[in-house]
Assembly symmetry: C2
Homo-oligomer: 236 residues x 2
């Protein structure tokens, strides 16, 4: 049975910080937990977005690919889509988007997803450059990211919101990925202006947090020396 | 199917801090997620331990009761027992116990449970006193706790370990509850000396974190003003 109340997360943001970037879950395994999601590949290989069960990768060259079952990931979020219409928005920047996503509802203490379909007058994304072993830390990788910009593009922005309490495990606040309908731009969203679009929302009551317990590098790592919150703040 | 890799948590430690102590899950609902666990009742009504599917409450008068299906809780942990023998220990205080639970294995980055069955030369527990609406904060409640001590008692100590990253959501480090075989003492463990006993361990790769999204007090609470880590440190 598809559990539409569950937000599934493989890995943690914290394990990316010191560069524990081994792929520890395959796309085939991930897709057992949902049809809609975001993530990154081994070595921070691009930015992923999964829509209607199809996984896309926006790579650091600005190309969008459909990826296969064997593609492996250190970190991903996924859920089974059951969105409800929330509101329509015009001329919305990230702040207006966040206010609309949170206002009128009191969702800040739980996990939820927002899907925005519409026309964006501006979209700015980044895609990280894959690093090889020994993997870079998250901050080193973030310095090497590619930045992409487009004006007047139709597409889907997929957002996950996690409560502040879970920052470090998840990304506290909103974490947004984008895919243009024509696949001309995708990636981790840095900035945008929504000209006009429809926001759908799906609230979760359960976080299913899966950890890569069979990965020795993860299990043996001493996290006490990583300043996780600060590093995520600078890199995300 | 009973998933023995899953550590289920209802509520968070963080919601206890400001006194969000409404019972938001019944024992009947909780027992769908396991047969072994710990928790507390509405208003911090005593200390719970679930062994072999039977839920016991150690109340603030020092009595142990079997509790019913309708008993409701703001916070609980549970899992389906599938323990493996870890080691035998003699003359072990909490530090020696913690070293044995963590040594030889690299479990500190994931969730696990330890079950200790044996003879305790000393056991010191507490049980909180139930508060009524308006509920006390966790610190106020902790000041009113009852303390119990026993020497030379047989029983079961059930311990859950959570990684530091999840402190605030869960109890970072070890969280131990106890029940004497003769039910003469139980509760949240403050100190102990294990004369001789057997440690069993069960590792989890998944935290299933359930939040009380239908509870308006929880959903509307502003957690940004609660100093959660400090308050838990002082109260736990």
């Amino acid at each position: 049975m598809k559990q539409t109340n569950v937000f599934y997360q493989h890995g943690t943001l914290a394990l990316l910080v010191p560069g524990l970037l081994s792929g520890t879950l395959t796309m085939k395994e991930l897709l057992q937990h949902g049809d809609t999601g975001i993530g990154t590949g081994e070595g921070l290989d691009g930015e992923l977005i999964i829509l209607d069960g199809v996984p896309y990768q926006a790579d650091s060259f600005g190309k969008v690919h459909v990826i296969g079952n064997d593609f492996s990931m250190p970190f991903a979020n996924i859920h089974f889509a059951d969105f409800k219409f929330l509101t329509s928005l015009k001329d919305a920047d990230p702040e207006k988007f966040a206010n609309a996503a949170l206002s009128g509802k009191t969702n800040a203490n739980t996990f939820f997803s927002i899907r925005v379909r519409g026309s964006f007058s501006y979209m700015k994304t980044r895609a990280v450059v894959k690093s090889s072993r020994p993997f870079d830390t998250l901050e080193e990788t973030a310095k090497k990211q590619s930045i992409f910009e487009k004006h007047n593009i139709e597409g889907t922005l997929l957002s996950y919101y996690s409560p502040t309490l879970f920052h470090g495990a998840a990304v506290g606040g909103f974490h947004n990925h984008f895919l243009a309908d024509d696949h001309s731009i995708g990636g981790h969203v840095l900035d945008f202006k929504l000209a006009s679009g429809k926001l759908d929302i799906q609230l979760f009551d359960t976080l299913e947090q899966h950890l890569p317990v069979n990965n020795n590098e993860f299990m043996e790592h001493d996290f006490s020396k990583d300043n996780i919150a600060d590093a995520i703040e600078r890199a995300e």
